[in-house]
Each structure stands twice: as C-alpha cells, then as structure tokens.
Amino acid sequence: MIGQKMSEDWGQPVVIENRLGANTVLGAQQVAKAAPDGYTLLMAIDSTLTMNQYLYRTPPYDPFNDFAPITLTAKTMQLLIVNAASDVKTVNDLISRAKAQPGKLNYGAGTITTKLTGYLFNKIGGDRDRAGSL
C-alpha cells in the first residue's frame, strides 16, 4: 500500500521486496550492503535499529553507521490481552494471579519486542519466578 502511493508520487516504479528472517537481520544486512545511491530503502522497526545489536553476538550491520533515517512511517502499540472467559479483568488481577501461582501462567508473544515486554512485566510486578524465562 505504501509502495503504491510512493510510486504515484514519484512517478517511478516502487518494488517491495519481502526479505524475512532472523528478526529483520537478513533484510537489514541486504540494505546495508546495497549501493548507497538512495534507490534501496529499508523499512526498519525497533528490532532492526535497537534490539538486534544486543541480541546477536556479531550483527552483520551497524544500526548507527550503515543507515540514514528518512522518516517515521508508523507507530504501533502493545496490548495486554487475556481470554474473554478469564476472570482476570485488570493488570492487578493478573499480577495477583501470577504471584499466587508462580511459574504457572503462560504468555504468548508474536515478536521479540512483545517477548521482551513480557520479561519486563514479570520483572517489575508479575511472576518474578519467571522473569527471564517466558
């Protein structure tokens, strides 16, 4: 969708290349090695520019020196959600449940970002027994 609008604005074809894998490392590496002529862009996310340098022993790109920022395209938010049938209605309910049943609650995370949020939640108020072991 973004590529189509950019193509209309610029009057040139915009090709979207989905380069998935390794928590965005593969795509970022490809752009870092591309010719620095402005014709290869990277749709970077938080993992790409902030987390991977700490999650990988030797990341194959430098988020500070290999890229030049152009613009912010989108903002996202995270939601803490339980099954609708659950009797947990508030964050305090969830913390109480976690403390009453250490190591019993499960947490699903779709990305590294949400996984780290779970670690942080456990560390500051949730299931301290599972902080760092989601």
């Binding site: 290349e17 380069r19 998935l20 965005t24 402005g38 014709y39 862009l41 790409t48 779709g110």
Partner: protein, 50 residues
C-alpha cells in the same frame, strides 16, 4: 586582468555545478526504487503462504 578572468571562470563553474547538482536532486528518482521489508519474523503466522 588574467586573475579576474580566472576568478570569474571559477565562480561560473561553481554556479553551474551547483545548478546541475540541484537538477539531479530534483529529478530523483530516475529509476525503480526498492523497499526491503524485513518483517514480520519468518516464523510469524502472517508469513504463511496464502
């Protein structure tokens, strides 16, 4: 006299170079742009083939 001519020629060259650079920037892009999208993670459910 010669010094004035040389200075004038240099200034003209700089002006032309600057105008050419500006023209190139205004003309961007002149060919296809590639946007690499590295997410969502490969093991994410939305990555499954339709």
């Amino acid at each position: 006299m010669n010094a004035r001519l040389i200075a004038l020629a240099l200034l003209s060259g700089l002006a032309m170079g600057s105008a050419a650079a500006q023209e190139r920037a205004d003309a961007f892009p002149t060919r296809a742009i590639k946007i690499v999208v590295p997410f969502p993670p490969a093991d994410h459910p939305t990555c499954s083939p339709a």
